[in-house]
């Protein structure tokens, strides 16, 4: 009976739950799904992380290559994020070139890395003007159940914190590049930006960490990226209008989430070091 109601009138079905301040998966409106983090799972990558936010699963791998730097920025390395939403993760994605959502997420990751300045590009310099590191950060979504943005940022930061690069020496005279795989140094990541995504339902209810079904019913969305106590970015791509107070609530929730997530990352990193 409930199944048929849900199929025929999904919005009304959802509203019935919201009337009692709860969601169909038994969460409160401001509650995140259980987050599982696994760092350093792929040994072929320089850094890796797997994040499970409820059912949404994202795997991040960081591979390092060397390249010549830009002529006008001789000491800056490159960070190249890429998000892949393949047909593997959901029946709604078809095999083929990256769709719009994947491209937007890739650009969001690039913007995040740039605005939060969590990695100083000069740390990626090997020999100014001649050789710098290029970090390819590939995020693969394995199971799509909503809120891929938050899972991606968490995986991205965790994988970067796990990244260690070998020492590289460039012979001045011959230009020979020698890599020493035994001497690895951790990549310095100065901060830990955490994103919190909300959807707006029925133009006035804010729900944090939406599942796939909730995203389909959304009338708008907001993502807030917070680092410690500082606000890094707010992303609101159209959709229902929000008041000042509602944005304030979002920011407060995001600050709380940032604390929880940073603690989780710290604990996971500590447990693998032991």
């Amino acid at each position: 009976m409930a199944e048929q109601f849900k199929m025929a009138q999904p919005k009304e079905y959802f509203k019935k739950f919201l009337e009692n301040d709860i969601r169909p998966d038994n969460r409160e409106l401001g509650e995140f799904r259980p987050t599982v983090l696994n760092i350093g799972c792929v040994s072929t990558a320089e850094g890796s992380a797997l994040v499970k936010l409820g059912n949404t699963t994202v795997m991040c791998g960081v591979k390092a290559e060397v390249a010549q730097p830009d002529a006008d920025k001789p000491k800056d390395g490159f960070l190249v994020p890429n998000v892949e939403l393949s047909a593997l993760c959901s029946p709604s994605f078809r095999p083929g070139p990256p769709g719009e959502q994947a491209q937007v997420l890739s650009q969001n990751m690039a913007d995040l890395l740039q605005t939060s300045k969590c990695i100083n590009l000069e740390d990626l310099c090997i020999c100014p003007g001649k050789l710098v590191w290029v970090l390819h950060i590939d995020l693969v979504c394995l199971d799509y159940d909503g809120n891929v943005m938050d899972a991606c940022t968490l995986a991205l930061i965790s994988a970067l914190k796990n990244t260690s690069l070998p020492a590289v020496t460039v012979d001045e005279d011959t230009g020979d590049i020698k890599t020493d795989p035994t001497s690895l140094s951790n990549l310095p990541v100065s901060c830990c930006p955490v994103s919190t995504s909300f959807i707006i339902f029925d133009h006035n209810v804010l729900l944090v960490d939406p599942t796939n079904e909730e995203e389909r019913l959304a009338t708008g969305a907001v993502t807030v990226v917070v680092e410690g106590e500082n606000l890094v970015s707010i992303y609101k791509p159209g959709g229902s209008a929000l008041t000042d107070d509602q944005i304030e609530t979002c920011i407060d929730r995001a600050v709380e989430r940032s604390r929880e997530a940073s603690k989780l990352i710290k604990e996971t990193l500590y447990s693998i070091d032991r």
């Binding site: 795997m59 199971d143 159940d145």
Partner: protein, 249 residues
């Protein structure tokens, strides 16, 4: 000579295994909610994910529909961070296309395609970490995913690789052993029917050694089958026990 370092005088391989010993196998079925069937499989350091969607209506051109059989659509993809050097094209390059078509041919022979005319089945395989035996791990993971999805099949399909080194047949090679230049025999079999579904051999191998290697690979496949089947049966028993408790309790 390639076999020198890869098989020591005491008969140990480069990772400490005996010639007939398989790598450690760990797997889990039903890891994804979105897919109808899914499995994660580790064979040594090779980590593979498989997801199955379907049977569902043909997507894309209706003209591809087979009027009397199920259309199996495979996609083999390697994560860019799965190999030592970053892989530029996760899918669509020649090796991946070849793998894709091999997987499709393998499963075309095993899935009971007559039961689902005019519909499509998608099998997606993603290699997260590659350390040799990619095809074998992919086939094994896809079999488990099909079992998880409840797709009718004639039997499990189990694949294993083998080679001949210093007069000893070895089984289940890792990346180092594969790239050493020796002959490589890859077989996919139906373990309970003792039938070969897929067989590939590359590089040079003396014909006297071939049957020996093939026999060892068959045994290797059957060993893998025992490991996989044992756990699948156990999980099934546990599930039916739970169901019994739920319905009678």
């Amino acid at each position: 000579m390639a076999g020198m370092e890869l098989l020591s005088d005491q008969g140990f391989r480069i990772d400490g295994r005996k010639p007939h010993e398989l790598r450690r196998i760990r797997f889990k079925k039903g890891v994804f909610r979105q897919a109808d069937g899914s499995a994660y499989l580790e064979q040594g350091n090779t980590k593979v994910l498989a997801a199955v969607y379907g049977p569902h209506e043909i997507r894309g051109s209706r003209g591809k529909a087979l009027h009397d059989k199920l259309l199996i659509n495979c996609q083999y993809s390697m994560a860019t961070f799965s190999t030592q050097d970053r892989k530029r094209r996760p899918r669509g390059d020649r090796k991946a296309q070849e793998m894709t078509s091999h997987l499709k041919q393998t499963f075309d022979a095993v899935v009971m395609t007559e039961l689902f005319p005019k519909v499509q089945l998608d099998i997606f395989v993603e290699v997260l970490q590659s350390d040799g035996g990619n095809y074998c791990a992919s086939v094994n993971a896809a079999t488990l995913a099909l079992v998880d999805a409840g797709i009718p099949m004639k039997d499990y399909v189990i694949a294993c690789s083998g080679s001949h080194m210093r007069d000893t047949p070895i089984v289940d090679m890792n990346h180092l052993e594969e790239s050493s230049g020796g002959a490589e025999v890859i077989m996919a079999i139906l373990p309970r029917c003792d039938q070969i579904v897929f067989l590939e051999m590359n590089s040079r191998l003396h014909e006297d050694h071939l049957s020996g290697v093939m026999d060892h690979v068959m045994v290797g496949c059957k060993d893998i089958f025992n490991v996989l089947n044992q756990q699948v049966q156990d999980e099934l028993c546990q599930k039916t026990e739970l169901d019994k408790i739920v319905t009678t309790g």
